[in-house]
Structures are given as structure tokens and as C-alpha cells.
């Protein structure tokens, strides 16, 4: 034992237990907190309520149009967690991250909890009585409002809310119900209708041996991602399917592909016809192809196509070989291919490929018919917003209602929606939070969250039969003054047509009566009404029994006419790719911190926007990660940090949509930028839809710089030398054996 000072070893040994107790108590929650919290206390609970034991209820997720079935775990009267329900063939017991985040939408601190009426230029708290009186004044029977002076702008609708909304608009003598989706599926639906005769044919990803996807991000944000992910898992089982993705910017699906091809943006249709041209040189395909096909594909020989698309002849030949060797295949068309002035034609070209390959009836077939057209899903379009905006611009509307849409945020700047909306004298927005559109309203009505209200939903994409998803409350209302949209519309209908609607005290009664009345259609004619209803609620999903046999899909012979590839644009040399993140979609979920915190799948960026730029382009422009770039179209400019990424076409620059909110609460406000604003007025020639991927931009450095906050840290994606994901230079690989 030394007489000198304390030796380090002894010091640490002693500090070992002295230090630990300090650390533990220092946390603040290590001590037993007697008397600090309240204990769960009831007055007269139902006998199945046991504190500490969860009760599960079935409902339907409303975070996107897939309408997956969910189970909600409820403890002590509070919904805590959602999980997928096995009752639906859509999601088969699985759920995505956005679905999980529905609880954050429900418990969000920035939820609107009271009606708001504009007084003296500002929105102020009001009562429902005041709100309903104002509504009666402005749009009630005594208001004298003409049908043509009223307009409703809504998101995609289905189920019984669609019926009530339609009835309400009719009761006003109005024809102005506009259905709008910022991420419009209209080109897809239009092309599918023309070529296959149905809007949403059934896709069998699991049956395909090779998938050629032109920008359809079916694992991420396209149509029904949870369902397709399940099919994809089967697709990848032995014998393993091959996935080829063609798109200007790598999506999550693209990242999973065996071969990722960045064709020049806008030339996807030419690539499809080039492949078709090569296929038709084989008699086996030429014999079975539609008569018009030969003439359509003739100009698209491989030299022409290779030059136009930038895809090598070798690659083209490989693709054709792949498609020939592996049958059946499946060719998909997605937003980046369809988002051009010739989008419809591109979709037609891609469908032609499916026809030539003989996929129709094998990996694409007809969905079941729905016997109730009134509740059938109706998708939105850009045209819906355009017509609404035109009416607003002319000063045609005295009263407008907005539900399930936020046009002030999602509309391109050139439309002037904000100014035009100001021309309507009385604007009512139905929302669960103050978004950009609600901030302009004269009356904002607070909605129940999806976890508190009743509803029925019919998904646009039905994988098997036809399912009616039931949405039921998973707990009592969190806030006393919110209401379900169905209840509000029912009350508005009672203002107009009291005799017809007085039999239903509330939306629940309306839904129950309607669904029970139709129990025959669900094969439950013999079941007692109450038993049928309780079982329906317990399952959360009703299946239409033995749906009428839809005619097998017969692909119509459609002409395809593609323009010459776009000339180089000296002033705006880049193609803007406004990418869709499945966690944000059109931006309505930007107020969910879990979604902000979840890193983007490709870039790992959190709580921000970014501009993806190819390394060669970045080098040419002298751009490093974190440099603020100004991206300007002919209609506006945004400033956003660069992220250097090889998964993008060198002539493209990609900024995700959904961020850049000026309202919508603390988690969304002021985060990132909004590329919707700078989109150019380019429209699809056949459908009139906004060509979202056709905007040309110029890119310049601003000189400002800020560190990019991302989960991958400073490794710049280079894995800090750990080689977790190894890459090989192409000369070390036998490319002949690769996909």
C-alpha cells in the first residue's frame, strides 16, 4: 500500500459503487415515486375491462388508400398500438410504419379540438352550436344558395361517407363535387380502363417469374404496398423471381431490384416499345400479338431506342432475353413513367408489352365486381382540382367545402389556388389539424381521428373478391368537441331533408342499418341481424359473397403514339423528379414525428428535405453534400441541401414531396421545402392530368452550406470501411452470368 496519493486503481474501485449510485439517482426516475402519480381508477367499468390486460378491437387503417385491416390494442380505455389484422386479404396481418403512426395522428398535440370561426380576420374558438347556426345561415335552405354557387372539394372517397357526401351535394341542387388527389392515379386508371377495361386490374406479383417495373414503387408508396410486399416475398422464394426497375431516381423498390436502369426521363415508353420491337422479331410472339402492334413498334429499333433512352443495346438485348426465358412476366407502369405530357401513351406502351408477353390473364387479371356502385371507390385526379380552381377563379362559388385535401399546400404555384380560394365568400374546411387550406377558411370544423370514429371503406385495389372494411372507434373521443365527418354530413342533410334522414340519430345508426340491410350480399342471409353486426365488428372486414364473375381481361387494341424525345433544354437542363415518400405521401403526414424521425430508405435523411444529385453532376457543378442549391423552374424556385447519390439519372435532380409546410403543427411547420410549388404547367395530352415529372429546372449553388442530418452519419454511405455490403468492380464479375 503506497503512502503517496490515492492510486488510480483504488480510486476507480471505490468510485465504482459510489459513482454508480450517483449516476442512478441522477437520472431522476430511479427512485420509487410514492405519491407522484395517480393510479387508474374507475367508477363502474364493464366486466371485460381489467387494468393491465389489453382488449383488441378491429378497424380499418385510413393512412393511405390501401385500406388495410388493423387490430387496435386498447388498455384502460386508451388505444396504444395498431397491428395488422389477418382478416383482410389486402394486408394479411401486416401493417406498415405509416399505419403504426396513426396513433400519433390521434394523440397529436396540434390536433384541432374546437370549431374555429373567422372573426376580425383571425380564426377563433367557437361552439358547435355557433358553427351549425353559421352553416344554416350560409348553406341551409333559408340561405337561398343556388346549386351552381356551391362546391365541395374532397379527397378520394368510398363507402358510406361517399353516399352521404354525394347526397348532400345533390340536396343543394349542385353538381360540383370535385375529387382531387395530389398524387393522382388518374393516368393509371385511365390507361387501365382503356386497355384492360377496368381501373384496377389484379396483379399477381407472386406468380411472375420476372417483373419489369417502370417506376412503380410497389414496395414503397404505390397502390397497396403492404399487399405487394407480401406477394414480393413469395416472388423471391425459389425459383427466385427477377426484378428489373426502370426509373429516373431510385425508389425503395428500385433498391431491391436485381437490375436498376435509369433511362432518360420521359423515354420510358420508347424503351417499352423497343423491347416490344425485339420481342416481335421472334415468330412465337409476332403470331399472337395484336394486329396493330407490328406497325406501332416498327420505328423503335434498338439503335433508335438506345440513343434516345441512354440504355445500351447490350442491356436491351439482356432484358428481352430475360423476358423470353422467364414466363409469365409482369410489366408495371408507375408515376415517374406516366408523369409526362405523353404519360397516357407511355402507360399504353407498357400495357402493350404485357399483351405481347402473354401476361394478360396470367399475372394481370380482372378484379371481382362490386355489387354496390354507390359505395365503390372513386379516385381523385388533378382535373378535379383544376375544375374547382377554374370555378373559384371566375368567382362562381359563394360557398365551398374542403375535406380530405389540402390544395393550398399541394397545388402547383402556377394555379394560384390561394388567391382563387380567397374569392369564395364562405369557406368551410373539415380537418383534424389546421393545415394551409384550413388557415384560410371562414369556418373550420374539428374532426375525430380515424381511431375515434365510424366508417366504411372499399379499397381501390382489391386483391381477392371484394372487401368492405369497417372502421370503428378504438376508444372514446379524446377531445369532447370533435366529430366524425359522417355525423356532420348527416346533420347537414337533416338541415336540408329532415324527413328523409330523421330516422337515423347518428352516423353509427345509419351505417349499421345500411350494412345490416345488405347482409345477404355478404352471404349472411340466415344470420340474425345483431349477431351479424357484432361478428362484422369483431372481424372488421366483410367479404362480398361469390362476387359476380367479371369478364376476363381482354386487352383492347390501343394505338400508341409517342413523341420524339425531348430536345435538350439549355435554360433548364435538369429534369425535376418530385419523389414520393411512403411515410409522407402528399404531405398530410408531415406532422407525425415518427415519420419525420424515420430515415428515408435511400438517403437516411431525417427531419428535412434534400436534393438528390448524381456524383458526376455534383463534381461538374462543384457541389458537395450539404451545399444549398437553388432549384428553379419557369414557375418558381426552392433552396434545398444537396445529397450526392448515385441512384439517380445524371440529368435529373430529385426533391421529395411532402415537406415545406407553413402550417400543420409543430412537427411539420418550417421543416424542409415544398417542390409542389414549382411544378410547370405541363399536362398529359390524353387525360389533361398534371405531368408531375415533366418539370425542367436549372440548378445553381447558393454558396450556403449546412451539415446534412442523416442516420448514415459521416460515412457518406461508404460504410466506414466495414464492407457490410460489398461491391465489386464490373471487370471482376462475369457479367454474362448476371441479370
Amino acid at each position: 500500500m503506497n503512502d503517496g496519493g490515492i492510486k488510480r486503481r483504488d480510486f476507480l474501485k471505490v468510485m465504482g459503487w459510489g459513482g454508480a449510485s450517483a449516476a442512478l439517482a441522477g437520472c431522476g426516475n430511479a427512485s420509487l415515486e410514492s405519491g407522484a402519480e395517480l393510479v387508474q381508477s374507475y367508477v363502474q367499468p364493464e366486466d371485460f375491462v381489467i387494468p393491465g390486460i389489453a382488449v383488441y378491437y378491429a378497424s380499418t387503417c385510413t393512412q393511405c388508400e390501401a385500406a388495410c385491416a388493423v387490430h387496435g390494442r386498447v388498455r384502460e380505455g386508451r388505444i396504444l398500438k395498431l397491428e395488422g389484422s389477418p382478416a383482410s386479404s389486402i394486408n394479411k396481418g401486416k401493417i406498415c410504419g405509416l399505419g403504426q403512426a396513426a396513433v400519433q395522428s390521434h394523440y397529436n398535440p396540434d390536433r384541432l379540438t374546437r370549431p374555429q370561426i373567422r372573426q376580425g380576420g383571425k380564426l377563433a374558438d367557437a361552439t358547435w352550436e355557433q358553427a351549425m347556426t353559421l352553416l344554416a345561415q350560409k348553406v341551409g335552405p333559408a340561405s337561398g344558395l343556388q346549386g351552381g354557387e356551391f362546391a365541395l372539394l374532397s379527397g378520394a372517397v368510398s363507402g358510406h361517407l361517399k353516399v352521404l357526401l354525394q347526397n348532400y351535394v345533390d340536396s343543394l341542387g349542385s353538381k360540383n363535387h370535385f375529387i382531387y388527389e395530389a398524387l393522382s392515379p388518374a393516368v393509371t386508371h385511365s390507361a387501365n380502363r382503356k386497355i384492360y377495361g377496368v381501373e384496377s386490374p389484379r396483379l399477381h406479383i407472386d406468380k411472375a417469374k420476372v417483373i419489369l417495373s417502370f417506376g412503380a414503387d410497389f414496395l414503397g408508396s404505390w397502390v397497396s404496398p403492404v399487399h405487394f410486399s407480401g406477394q414480393y416475398a413469395k416472388f423471391r422464394k425459389a425459383p427466385r423471381g427477377v426484378l428489373v426497375q426502370v426509373e429516373p431516381k431510385m425508389t425503395l423498390t428500385g433498391a431491391n431490384a436485381d437490375r436498376w436502369i435509369p433511362a432518360r426521363p420521359g423515354t420510358e415508353g420508347m424503351l417499352a416499345l423497343g423491347i416490344a420491337n425485339l420481342l416481335l422479331q421472334d415468330a412465337a410472339y409476332a403470331q399472337k400479338a395484336p394486329a396493330a402492334a407490328a406497325a406501332i413498334v416498327k420505328p423503335y429499333n434498338k439503335e433508335v431506342v438506345s440513343t434516345a433512352t441512354g440504355v445500351s443495346i447490350e442491356q436491351l438485348d439482356k432484358l428481352v432475353k430475360l423476358l423470353k426465358e422467364r414466363s409469365p412476366s409482369l410489366v408495371l407502369s408507375g408515376p415517374s413513367a406516366e408523369g409526362h405530357a405523353h404519360g397516357f401513351q407511355t402507360a399504353a406502351a407498357i400495357a402493350l408489352l404485357n399483351v405481347i408477353l402473354g401476361n394478360v390473364g396470367k399475372t394481370i387479371d380482372a378484379p371481382a365486381a362490386l355489387p354496390f356502385p354507390q359505395i365503390a371507390p372513386q379516385g381523385g385526379s388533378y382535373a378535379g382540382l383544376r375544375d374547382f380552381n377554374d370555378g373559384l377563379a371566375k368567382g362562381q362559388y359563394k360557398a365551398v367545402f374542403v375535406h380530405g385535401a389540402n390544395p393550398v399546400f399541394t397545388a402547383p404555384g402556377f394555379m394560384g389556388v390561394r388567391e382563387n380560394l380567397g374569392k369564395a365568400a364562405f369557406k368551410v374546411v373539415f380537418a383534424d389539424a389546421i393545415d394551409e387550406t384550413a388557415a384560410m377558411a371562414d369556418l373550420v370544423l374539428p374532426l375525430d381521428s380515424a381511431l375515434e370514429g365510424w366508417g366504411t371503406h372499399v379499397a381501390h385495389y382489391q386483391p381477392a373478391g371484394t372487401e368492405l372494411g369497417i372502421q370503428q372507434p378504438l376508444m372514446e373521443k379524446l377531445h369532447a368537441d370533435t366529430r366524425t365527418m359522417g355525423d356532420i354530413v348527416l346533420d347537414l342533410l337533416k338541415q336540408r331533408q329532415p324527413e328523409q334522414y330523421k330516422q337515423w340519430p347518428d352516423y353509427y345508426a345509419y351505417l349499421k342499418t345500411s350494412v345490416v340491410q345488405a347482409k345477404n350480399a355478404f352471404g349472411q342471409a340466415a344470420t340474425e341481424d345483431e349477431v351479424f353486426w357484432r361478428e362484422a365488428l369483431s372481424a372488421g372486414v366483410l367479404n362480398v359473397a361469390a362476387p359476380a364473375q367479371a369478364a376476363p381481361l381482354a386487352a383492347a387494341s390501343v394505338g400508341v403514339s409517342l413523341p420524339a424525345p425531348e430536345a435538350a433544354n439549355a435554360q433548364y437542363p435538369f429534369h425535376l423528379v418530385p419523389s414520393v415518400r411512403h411515410s409522407f405521401r402528399d404531405g398530410r403526414h408531415a406532422n407525425l414525428p415518427w415519420m419525420q424521425e424515420s430515415p428515408d430508405a435511400l438517403t437516411t435523411v431525417v427531419w428535412d428535405s434534400w436534393a438528390e444529385i448524381h456524383p458526376k453532376t455534383a463534381a461538374r457543378l462543384g457541389v458537395k453534400e450539404g451545399d444549398y442549391l437553388e432549384i428553379a423552374s419557369d414557375k418558381g424556385a426552392i433552396k434545398v441541401k444537396a445529397y450526392v447519390f448515385p441512384g439517380i439519372h445524371p440529368d435529373a435532380i430529385s426533391v421529395p414531396v411532402g415537406q415545406g409546410h407553413e402550417e400543420l403543427g409543430r412537427y411539420a411547420k418550417g421543416v424542409g421545402v415544398n417542390p409542389f410549388k414549382i411544378l410547370s404547367p405541363v399536362f398529359d395530352k390524353d387525360t389533361g392530368e398534371l405531368a408531375m415529372y415533366a418539370t425542367r429546372v436549372k440548378v445553381s449553388r447558393t454558396g450556403q452550406h449546412e451539415k446534412m442530418v442523416k442516420d448514415e452519419g459521416d460515412s457518406h454511405g461508404k460504410q466506414a470501411g466495414t464492407k457490410i455490403v460489398a461491391t465489386l468492380p464490373s471487370d471482376k464479375v462475369n457479367l454474362a452470368r448476371e441479370v
Binding site: 395517480l38 387508474q40 381489467i50
Partner: protein, 187 residues
Amino acid sequence: MHRLTALLFFAVLGIFGVPSAYATDPTTIVEQPIEFPHDRHAGDMGINCMYCHTYARRSIVSGIPPLAKCMGCHQNIESVKDKPRIKKLFEYWEKKQAIPWKKVHDLPDFVRFNHERHIQRFYFEQEKPVQEVCGYCHGDVKTMTVAQQVKPLTMGWCKSCHQQDHQVTKGSKETTNGPSDCWVCHK
């Protein structure tokens, strides 16, 4: 400096210099909205703990009895109807308002304690008397009015019991002891 002195220095620091992780100080009386007399109910009348704390045998928490349970008896007991505490009880019942009881035995959030397993083992399988089973952790409740924490409820204290062998069921030759895996209590 001698090692011993250093030891004493830090030991003293540990006890006085930092907040204690032990809450055995019985002077922290937790006040409740109504001073519920356990001595009357569990003591004088010998009512089984689980008559009121009914969830102990089937849930992670033992549960505070809902107001309806109190009313079940008290709406028929004329002799105490005018007592101040009973009057307060009826006030809550009239308003259908839950009594805001404070939590007395509140373990930190990172500890998962499961009442059911303990009750099943010691009350149902070993058939020990209920007040002995509950009293091991909650103290001699029949001498208290409102519950007070009189046991340390620290991890070391829990482990001291977990480490002792006990019979699996009453009279069985087989013995076992409580789990000492971290994940069982800390998930």
C-alpha cells in the same frame, strides 16, 4: 491517503451527497382524497385483500377497486352513512366521478412487476394466507388507514426473496426460486 479513508469518504458522499435510492423513510405519508381505513376493512372485518383488489390474481396490476365496489356494500350500511368520509364517497358516486387515488407503490418505469405470477405462486399454489402474501411487499396493511410504503421495493430487496428456494406448491418436495434473468423484470 489510505484506501480506507477514501472508502469512508465516498461512502459518506454516497449516503448524504446524492439523493437516496431507498425510500424506506416512513415519514413520507401519501395523502389520499379520502383517508380510506384499511384497518376497519382488512383488520376489523377481515375482508380478503382480493375482494377489492380483484385484479391481482389475473393481471400485472392488482387494481384499485372501482367506485361501484365500494357502493356495493356502503349503499346498504346505514350505521356509517353520515360519517364524513362516507359522505365524500357518495359525493363522488353522485357525480359518477372516479376518485383520484394516488399511487403509493410506484416502481420506476423500467421495472415490470407482475402481480399475477406472485399471487398465483404464493396464494393459490402455496396456499399461504392472503395477508401474509400481500403483506410481504405491502406491509401490515391491516394496521394502516391509507396504504403506505414500508418496504424498500428496491431491486436488491426483490432479489433477496428471488434468491431463496421455496416449495413449488404447498407440501411439495420440489423447490424453485424466483427468476434472476435481467430480461424477466426489465423486458
